[in-house]
């Protein structure tokens, strides 16, 4: 049957059903990320963010909510320059967070 439309997927974030294995793996690998209070200094100084849509704060937020759509594409935009790490007032090892996400994506590719 030709319907002329498909059922729209909800954009709501369901914290009960999301799979947190990937984000837990990253947090275990780089526990300093737990100290982040979301000030956005990392994003403000980001070299890649000047040239692309890369946004470390958004990436972190999506990671903690278990929302992994487009995370693979986004994380590949980071140039690992480390300027974010220099300005972080909480001392988060942001560069290792990005590297950990890249490793976790390979580990948990099935849930992406």
């Amino acid at each position: 049957m030709k319907w002329g439309y498909t059922i729209s997927q909800p954009r709501a974030i369901n914290l009960d059903t999301n799979d947190y294995r990937l984000s837990n793996w990253v947090l275990n690998n780089e526990p300093s990320l737990l100290r982040c209070f979301g000030c956005g200094s990392c994003t403000a100084t980001c070299t890649a963010g000047n040239l692309t849509s890369f946004n470390f704060r958004k990436l972190h937020h999506a990671l903690r909510l278990g929302e992994y759509t487009r995370i693979k594409e986004e994380v590949s935009k980071c140039m690992l320059c480390g300027k974010c790490r220099l300005v972080c007032p909480r001392g988060v090892n942001t560069r290792n967070v990005v590297v950990s996400i890249q490793k976790a994506i390979k580990e948990y590719e099935a849930i992406l």
Binding site: M1, W3, G4, Y5, T6, I7, S8, Q9, P10
Partner: protein, 356 residues
């Protein structure tokens, strides 16, 4: 913190005045097309079971609600058409207006509110109506939705009930999901019983007639009709997604039926179950079937012992027989698709990918 006094005051604000008798009835475009037995049953219930005076006027037209909410009909036209409905009511000698559709009810309330705040708009509507038809009108003294009136007489109906929402095999109350149309009280909370937060109009009926009401997370979510969300085919995916969200939320509570007071909601909650079944092979009732959907007129008719086929239950997408069996209502399956004169109406095509 709410004290008993503020709670009492708040609850009083959520009540509305419902006249006892003498109503001018305005039909619904959607209701009479998709659930054609409902409005006839409603008039029979009011006239024969409750002995009320209701005037069913063949001269009235659409309220323009669907056109208004899709930005097709201009506000001035809507006001003039509504002024004409009130003129017909006045000419018939009635003061209580009884619209069958929730969209119409919301629109009448909205226009009356606009006229109260902007009297010049009312003057303009009166002028337009007079120029076009030479008619004049009085505003209704009492404006209630048809479900309000059934709610008003729910205990009297319970006294005359032949069946109730109790499982005849187990003696347990049946679980009903009540769905209130958005335009009933979400626009003007003071005009609905229980307001927009605690609408009690359908819950009161279910409880008075022996059932229990399911309180599920998405209880107040829209059915998804949304007018333009449905009328433009490319947007229908958004419309059906809203109903799907509700079904997924209510399914774990295993409801025995859904009842709606809005013609659009009842239609979409019924038809979208078929669409979701066909598209995603997913159903939400027991044994891979759907959840039966009733209009409140049909629900009242069943309780009062009307024949399911006279109520038009054969016009539903999701078969209602499982509910009839639970309530112990007898029916002849062979008469399901026979018209009033015994003529065969023909059987609908069966779904391909779901049972329903």
């Amino acid at each position: 913190m709410d004290t008993p006094r503020t709670i009492h005051r708040n609850w009083k604000e959520y009540q509305k005045e419902i006249a006892d008798d003498h109503f001018y009835y305005a039909r619904s475009c959607i209701r009479q097309n998709f659930f054609p037995g409902s409005e006839t049953a409603y008039l029979n219930i009011l006239r024969n079971d409750l002995s009320l005076d209701v005037y069913d006027d063949p001269k009235h037209t659409t309220c323009t609600g669907i056109g208004y909410h899709t930005d097709i009909v201009p506000l001035e036209t809507t006001m003039t058409v509504i002024a004409r409905q009130f003129a017909l009511m006045t000419e018939a000698g009635y003061e209580n207006f009884l619209p069958s559709c929730v969209t119409s009810f919301g629109l009448y309330v909205e226009i009356l509110d606009m006229w109260e705040h902007f009297p010049e708009l009312e003057e303009k509507a009166r002028e337009n109506l007079y120029k076009a038809t030479k008619r004049e009108f009085n505003k209704p003294k009492n404006l209630v939705h048809t479900s309000d009136l059934i709610f008003h007489y729910r205990e009297k109906i319970a006294e005359n009930a032949k069946y109730s929402f109790v499982d005849v095999k187990t003696g347990q109350p049946l679980k009903g999901v009540e769905h209130i149309g958005c335009h009933y009280a979400k626009i003007f909370p003071s005009k609905g019983i229980g307001g927009s937060e605690f609408p009690y109009v359908l819950a009161g009926m279910i409880e008075s007639w022996g059932g229990t009401v399911v309180d599920y997370p998405e209880r107040r979510h829209c059915c998804g009709f949304g007018f333009r969300n449905y009328l433009v085919m490319a947007n229908r995916g958004y419309s059906v997604a809203n109903s799907k969200k509700k079904f997924e939320s209510m399914a774990p509570y295993k409801p025995n039926f859904i009842v709606g007071n809005c013609p659009g909601c009842a239609m979409f909650l019924d038809r979208w179950q078929y669409t979701i079944g066909e598209m995603e092979h997913k159903t939400y009732g027991p044994n891979g079937r759907g959840i039966p959907v009733l209009t409140y007129e049909e629900m009242t008719g069943l309780v009062l012992g009307y024949s399911p086929w006279d109520l038009g239950l054969q016009m539903h997408q999701v078969p209602v027989e499982p509910l009839l069996d639970k309530m112990g209502i007898p029916y002849n399956a062979e008469e399901k698709y026979l018209g009033i004169n015994g003529k065969n109406l023909g059987k609908p095509q069966l779904p391909q990918n779901c049972v329903l």
